[in-house]
Amino acid sequence: MARLIKTEAVVEGRTEVRWTLVEEDSTPEWPADQPPGVVGEPTTRLTAGARLSGSARYTSDMQLPRQLEATVLRSPHANARLTSISLDAARAVPGVRAVIGPGDCPQFDGEAVLHDEPPYGGAAVAAIAAETREAADEAMAALDPQWEPLGFVVDLDQSLENQTFQDDPVEYERGDAETALAAAELTITSDYLAPAQLHNSMEPHCAVADWRPDGLTLWSSTQGIYQARSQLCGSFGLDQEHVRVICHFMGGGFGSKFGCGPEGVIAAELSRRAGRPVRLVLSRRDENLSTGYRTPARFSFTIGAGCDGRLQAVEASAVMGLGTGGWAYPVLEPVKSVYACEHQHLMTLPMRLNLGPAAAFRAPGVMEGTWAFEQALDELAEAAGLDPLELRRRNHTDVDPSTGRPYTSKRLLESYDLAAELAGWDARDELRSDGRVRRGMGCASQYWWGGGGPPAYADVRIGSDAKPVLTVGMQDLGTGVTTACAVVLAERLGIRPDQVTVRTGDTDLAGHGPFSGGSMTLASVAPAVRSAGHHVRTQLLELAADMFEIAASDLELTEGEVRSTDGTLRRPIHDVTEKLGNAWVTGSGSRAPNPDGMAVNTFGCQIAQVAVDTLTGLITVERVVAVHDIGRVVNPMGARSQVLGGILQGIGFALSEERVVDPTTGTVVNAGLEDYKIPTLADLPEVECRFVGEPDPELALGIKGLGEPPIIPTPGAIGNAVAHALGLRLREAPYTPRRVLEALQ
């Protein structure tokens, strides 16, 4: 029987209270010592066949009959008023089927989509749908927009002076930081400046809209199909039943693709007006001007500690450049929550600038905050004459320091020990030299949420061919969650994961599932999948009991067979399911809530080894040891790949990635991939990746998320390694050759 329960979930640092529909569940516990061969074995991706043959259809590949191509006019100015625009001239261009300008398009989440006063360079102003891209481009040229440039602010200090906030400032206090700082034996102050990092998912933001009298279908490259549906319902005043959102294959998101995006609303409005399907794919440059970035932030820390290195007080501020959107991402969370420290006063100031809206980017806030604070801790370790890892051990906490809640599990100390052993930490000073190439090693701790939670639902059916179909209301950005779900189902049904078909990414197909963010997807969905699988298992065993006249309790499903526990019966599962004919056995499952009153977090430690060429200023990350505590590892192969991906994006943040804004024009000068430099194969370090920790005893299936954790400590560990190598600290990332050489002079 279903019931509504009230539950708490932490999503990227924000606690949400939700009412959730939950089914009663009799699925047995998943033993921590699961025998090998079903779960925990490397499993290749279910999507390999489609993705490696070119047959996978991504949103930008959609080609519906009579589909039009859309293009968007964007402001070239940092801030401007549109004084005139020739929409009719554009409409007169042959092949043009719809043209919309400011005032013609519904809002997106309460915000204007097409602007008559575009507040940043790259803000959308008008949109065109035409038979061909050439016709759309010709119509674009005919729009002849006239602008009145307005004053703009793209500088953090200036916006602070003007007190223009994009979101409410966040103040946090515990204890009495001022008094404790005054009394501290050791005090250090330090500042850090983090860059704006651009997501650059390989698949740009895109949407294909098909507006028909009986409803709207939107193919969207989205991290949240249900969120996209709600937004479209809100924008167009449609009922849920009349909006379908589809995302079968997706080319990455990294936090920039929640919901349908303005591109979804524009495509839908153009389709509504033209009476034809419309495809809108953003160019790489438009992508990098308008779809989000990790917020640049200036950090200031004053840290007070005892001579033993134990933290007593921290005063910290973070000034974030949010642009024209986004929220106060938890940039000071690493100060507040990772270590024991009684007295704190933290201030986060989310400033508005004439730049595109910020968006969540893989561990938003926490990664850049970790980069800054973990370096300040190394400065403290140096002042205290302590080994950096020893300083972290001394400040370990067994309860969440901001709430006093116990953790469901925490294996951070084990992570330090294992990482130190694998990295050769104790011999790290032997790496150092005075030569041209200087080596160093640095560490950083990792803290994140990721326990998942309701609501999440799954449906399983199995027919005569004994090959189950799993339907889940989620989308796979490319993380491999689809394959992990198949692994979880295969365990219950005693089959191989590659025998499972997983259907995702369609709001008409499945019950509600979570958006893909906050490292929540697998931890939310997997328990529902297992529960649905268990219902099917129970029914199959009952059918087998009837057929073979053995009690269901004496039967099990293993290695594709129905077996009796006494070993007398071994028959393929197919022998049972073939009796179904064209009927199915079905089962549904839902995600139960996490325990109340406990903190659910992931932890870890990374140690980076770098080589700095003091002649060229070039830094090479030679080796990264990554140890993470994520509870049960469902698919070691996919988990390792997540870690590698996080580390590489972290290397990009630390060494090469930085959106550059021209202060004289207020516009972004490196929106293309030739001058915004993301890591290549040549930047790949040797990676040693380990997972500590058993399944989390308090969480469903013991699973915690892994999407975000691996990027979090990488830049801080690199920063500390560079400081170890050079004996001086770079305070501004990325550590480009120019900054390295300037620091060395």
Partner: protein, 151 residues
């Protein structure tokens, strides 16, 4: 403008626009959407296809310049390409898969030219193909493994 070309062994005659890139011809006219366009400016490698056995960026290559050419895309068949597909699968050389068609075609071009590449040759040949998911380790190992595998 009439363009005659062979794509994955099939012959086509197409009326292409003067400025039409090969990527658009493949994707929009021939419905071969395996080839991906991620930057449209020749900086990411996603759109890599083989023209007369050479890897080219199809987003910067004019369709009209391919008259008489033989083009191969990720949809092509072939033993070496199948070996690469197997190796990419087994080494987890992709995540979202959007850059993968370009990775596969660059790898195919490398192995056809240099059947047994050194690790440095693999890095040099594959560094023009960006992967934001960071599947580089799997890609590099997969290319090396496909080179070693028996045909």
């Amino acid at each position: 403008m009439q363009v005659e070309l062979e794509v994955n062994g099939n012959r086509y005659r197409v009326d292409a626009a003067a400025a039409e890139p090969l990527s658009a011809l493949l994707r929009d006219r021939l419905q071969l959407t395996g080839t991906k366009v991620a930057c449209g400016e020749g900086t990411c490698g996603s759109c890599t296809v083989l023209v007369d056995d050479r890897p080219v960026l199809s987003c910067l290559t004019l369709a009209a310049a391919c008259d008489g050419a033989s083009v191969r895309t990720v949809e092509a068949e072939g033993d070496l390409l199948d070996r690469l597909r197997r190796a990419f699968t087994e080494e987890d050389g992709f995540q979202c898969g959007f850059c993968t068609p370009g990775q596969l075609m660059s790898a195919l071009a490398l192995l056809e030219r240099t059947p047994h590449p050194s690790p440095d040759e693999i890095v040099t040949a594959m560094s023009g193909n960006l992967c934001r998911c960071g599947a580089y380790e799997g890609i590099a190992v997969a290319v090396a493994r496909a080179a070693e595998a028996p045909a």
